[in-house]
């Protein structure tokens, strides 16, 4: 057989998987090939390391009830006349099984202190069986090979099995009190003055089965320490004193006595004892509790959302906020629901849910880079209120006019990105994007694991082959050094800056940058400065479990970019392909909205969403204040719930002390204007390379004519859905059925299938909520 050093058959041989014939051949080959011999040794070493590490993992167990049910199932099958034999045999089983099982559970190199139970303590027949029964030769070999245990020491273990009563100690045999073990007569001090190490656990009833004590590393550790202490007092070679080790279930059941180290017996409830491993005031070491499966530690991070409340127009006539085109929250919520989990309330940003979908707003005409579309209609979840929708749509510059792009991908290739839904997905998406850009657009790739490096200098997409090669070569390993990666990416972008073009860094990561807090402020400053001088930053989030949503969104904000979450290839296609233009091309930056309400027409209002985008009223005219960006073709939607004057609403503010409180029940002084307008929507924006803002004003008069449009109904549905997921106090009469109905009505022709997908999510959420 021809073998190479890198041959799976060598691995098989190393792991003991080859049959006789193969083994002979391989051994022959190995004799002549030292390199292969080294390989085999390495493979074995890794195997042992893996086995060792795996052993540290806790072993779960079935519950008592489940054991009972299995017992019942087997009883049904069992022929009745064996039942009598079963109980008798069970004693034998207990001793025999436990003996061998525990014997073989011993890790290499440690000696579990095992010894004879004094004969008097064990029912004679059982002892006879256990002592006289020879182990089968083949198994004895296996045992002898693996264990350091002296073969001469017959091992009798009292181990609790689920269905049989534990063996009774001689003293208690007659008492028949359900198996409470009293301690055997105290073995005397051995020659070195050390009492035997013994834990006695009575089993009043079959308690939570835990095999964990057998494999529990902590317990073994303690045993090992004790053994070492004992051994160090022995002269070399003499065996440890005969000790009784009754290792039984240390779980929930009550301890009657615990005798450890010193010979003090403690009676009482296990739960009264100090923490395991601790040494209590009497000098006894507590045995550890059974190992539990690790708690589900989810290290995802979401910023808290303090929901906007109703504000009275008399007190707060101006509502100001920055626009937001991020869509990550929707994709994230979708990910949770598709996995059968309700998303945490703080992960649900309603504005991002609404903004995920495409709407039919008309293209802007004239100079302004976007169109403003307002629709007002009855509020579905509160019949007395209205719902006003403000929608913006960014211009799509014709392809010929599109400036050249200089795109730098900054990719997290740390070890955790190796999963199917992260780096491989990212690679496919990037290849896709590269194929759709114009020949004079440039793509560069910077990667960071522990060391950031440039994988591909910005290369025109006419060299598609080079770009593809570079993308395919990406491999993940190592840790994460995002801050340095970002610096490197910015340097590369500066070097290859396209004057008047689009220069943007696209960060792909599954976590955050793992920087310390002092570095984080520096990072943010750097991002802001770079954004000011024309290199923007967008963030693509991948994977789950470590998604630092709050941090990623913050970075994208400061970098004048957007934050999208990519969970599937479809989403990658959507963000990087269909929405490539909007993700990459900014047509207006620092876009702010300020709405002034007419108190004669509106008593109070509530902005749905945009909680983390709120601006102070004076920030609207302050050009130094940063706000959101609109990409080419982007639509941005905001919803206000409006309360007509005269409708009661309790604002969340204390009663005023120095002047009468104006709430809507008493209309304010006659309005300064008797305009028919409901409100005026004002917008400020800057052109991508500009520094001063331009203002747009759009007056809105009354309820729109005609029935609510499909888009409007769908948007109302999504907002209502978001409120249900967050269990908002403002949800009014919303139900999942209402959400569903509105969505159906608003579905329209759904060219990209996103609305149908949303309708699917509604039923999932409804089912999950009803399970609570």
């Amino acid at each position: 057989m021809t073998l190479q050093p890198d041959d799976p058959r060598l691995t098989a041989y190393a792991l003991g998987e080859c049959d006789e014939a193969e083994r002979a051949e391989i051994e022959q080959y190995l004799e002549q090939n030292p390199e292969a011999r080294a390989e085999v040794d390495l493979v074995r070493a890794v195997g042992e390391q893996l086995t060792e590490e795996f052993r540290k993992e806790p072993t779960p167990a079935l519950t008592d009830l489940q054991h009972k049910q299995i017992e019942m199932a087997s009883a049904r099958v069992r022929r009745p006349w064996t039942r009598m034999l079963a109980y008798a045999a069970s004693l034998l089983v207990v001793l025999g099984v436990g003996a061998v099982y525990l014997q073989l559970q011993k890790p290499r190199g440690e000696t579990l202190a095992m010894g004879n139970i004094p004969h008097s303590a064990v029912p004679k027949s059982a002892a006879a069986v256990a002592n006289n029964k020879p182990l089968r030769p083949s198994n004895q070999e296996a045992i002898a090979k693996k264990e350091a245990a002296p073969a001469s020491e017959p091992v009798i273990q009292q181990e609790k099995l689920y269905f049989s009563p534990p063996p009774q100690m001689k003293d208690q045999a007659a008492s028949g009190d359900g198996g409470v073990n009293a301690p055997a007569p105290e073995p005397s001090l051995d020659a070195q003055g050390i009492r035997p190490y013994r834990i006695t656990v009575p089993q009043a009833e079959s308690s939570d089965a835990s095999r964990n004590t057998q494999q529990d590393p902590e317990l073994k550790q303690k045993q090992k320490l004790y053994d070492e202490a004992v051994a160090s007092k022995h002269s070399a070679g003499s065996p440890a004193p005969a000790e009784v080790k009754e290792r039984t279930d240390t779980a929930a059941s009550e301890y009657d006595t615990v005798t450890v180290g010193g010979s003090i017996q403690i009676r009482g409830n296990w739960r009264d004892y100090p923490a395991p491993g601790a040494i209590d005031q009497r000098g006894c070491i507590m045995p550890p509790p059974p190992a539990c499966p690790p708690p589900v530690s989810n290290t995802e991070l979401y910023a808290t959302i303090n929901e906007n409340s109703f504000l009275t127009v008399a007190n707060e006539p101006l509502s100001t906020f920055s626009i937001d085109v991020d869509t990550a929250s929707y994709a994230n919520v979708r990910r949770f629901l598709n996995q059968g989990q309700l998303p945490p309330a703080d992960a649900v940003r309603i504005e991002e849910l609404i903004n995920y979908f495409k709407y039919d707003y008309p293209q802007p005409t004239g100079d302004a880079p976007f169109s403003v579309n307002v629709e007002v209609n009855a509020c579905p979840w509160n019949p007395a209120h209205s719902l006003a929708r403000i929608g913006l749509r960014g211009k799509v510059p014709p392809m010929a006019e599109r400036p050249a792009c200089n795109l730098i991908f900054l990719l997290d290739i740390s070890g955790s990105m190796q999963a199917e839904n992260k780096l491989p997905l990212l690679k496919r998406s990037m290849t896709m994007l590269a194929e759709t850009l114009a020949p004079n657009d440039r793509i560069g790739i910077v990667v960071y694991d522990s060391i950031p490096r440039v994988v591909l200098e910005p290369t025109p997409t006419s060299n598609l082959g080079t770009i593809r090669c570079a993308i395919n070569s990406l491999q993940s390993n190592g840790s994460t050094n995002g801050a340095d990666g970002l610096r490197l990416a910015y340097n590369v972008a500066r070097r290859t800056f396209i004057e008047g073009g689009i220069n943007r860094i696209l960060v792909g990561t599954d976590g955050d940058f793992n920087v310390g807090t002092t570095d984080k402020d520096e990072l943010i400053q750097m991002i802001q400065q770079q954004a000011k001088s024309g290199v923007f930053l967008s963030v693509l989030g991948f994977g789950m479990g470590n998604l630092k949503d709050a941090n990623l969104e913050g970075l994208a904000d400061k970098g004048n970019g957007n934050y999208a979450y990519i969970d599937t290839f479809n989403e990658a296609r959507r963000v990087l392909l269909e929405q490539a233009a909007s993700t990459i091309i900014t047509i207006a930056k620092d876009v702010k909205i300020q709405v002034e309400f007419n108190p004669g027409k509106v008593g109070a209002y509530r902005l749905i969403g945009y909680e983390n985008r709120a601006l102070a009223a004076q920030d609207f005219n302050d050009d130094k204040k940063d706000a959101g960006e609109i990409g080419a073709g982007h639509t941005v939607t905001a919803l206000y719930e409006l309360v007509p004057p005269g409708e009661p609403v309790t604002p969340n503010v204390d009663a005023l002390k120095y002047q009468p409180m104006c709430n809507v029940e008493q209309p304010a002084a006659p309005p300064a204007s008797d305009s028919n307008e409901l409100m005026t929507v004002k917008l400020r924006y800057k052109l991508p390379d500009g520094d001063t803002s331009t203002k747009l004003e759009v007056p809105v008069t009354g309820v729109s004519e005609g029935a609510a449009s499909a888009d409007y109904q769908f948007q109302a549905s999504v907002a209502a859905f978001g409120m249900l997921l967050r269990d908002s106090q403002y949800k009014g009469t919303v139900t999942f059925d209402m959400v569903s109905e509105l969505a159906q009505r608003g579905k329209g022709n759904d060219s990209d299938g996103t609305r149908s997908e949303f309708i699917g999510l509604i039923s999932i959420a409804k089912a999950l909520k009803s399970q609570r």
């Binding site: 799976p8 691995t11 098989a12 792991l15 998987e17 493979v43 890794v46 195997g47 390391q49 893996l50 590490e53 795996f54 052993r55 993992e57 072993t59 779960p60 167990a61 079935l62 489940q66 017992e71 199932a73 087997s74 009883a75 099958v77 069992r78 034999l85 079963a86 045999a89 089983v93 025999g96 099984v97 061998v100 073989l104 011993k106 069986v129 198994n139 296996a142 099995l161 689920y162 095999r211 494999q215 530690s297 290290t299 598709n338 996995q339 740390s414 070890g415 955790s416 190796q418 999963a419 199917e420 839904n421 993940s476 390993n477 840790s479 994460t480 976590g511 479990g545 470590n546 969970d567």
Partner: protein, 190 residues
Amino acid sequence: MKLPINVVPGDIVNGMRTDSEWVRAALVRFEGPLIRYAARMVGSVEAARDVVQDVFVRLCAADRAQVDGHLAAWLYTVCRNRALDVARKERRMVPLNEAVANQEARGHSASVLAERSDTHLAVLAIVDTLPEQQQEVVRLKFQDALSYKEISEATGLSVSNVGFLLHTAIKTIRRQVATQTDLLDAGDRS
């Protein structure tokens, strides 16, 4: 140390004549590993317990003569099938996305362990970053001590496929460990 897989304790002690003893012995030996195995597929230990209980109930009803001799393979196969059914049904997932769903189950430990790998060698962290199939096979081999043949029966892959997956996995682990050692050394030196 792990028992060689086809040595069920019942074979050792001649007392094990009745079926229920046989089932009990199987429980003792396989309960923990099976729950762990199922938990990675269904995502939670609770659901995994239900699956494993189901497996053992089926074992009670199975013809012992047929199962004897390859008990481990039988148990793991049944467990796997049940777990996948449950996972599919409850997640409403298309099989393609199983990898993603299972990632969530592993995600918590992976992310915690991945952080640890920054500071010291954690072989398990590396295992958690392997492709799903390799992970499954690695765990079956080194945690549950199944043979190639048993792994092949349980997972439906061919024996040579199993061998290849393990070979690749070990190669990857060795490479990662070497890289990390280099980095650590470099870090120590700098």
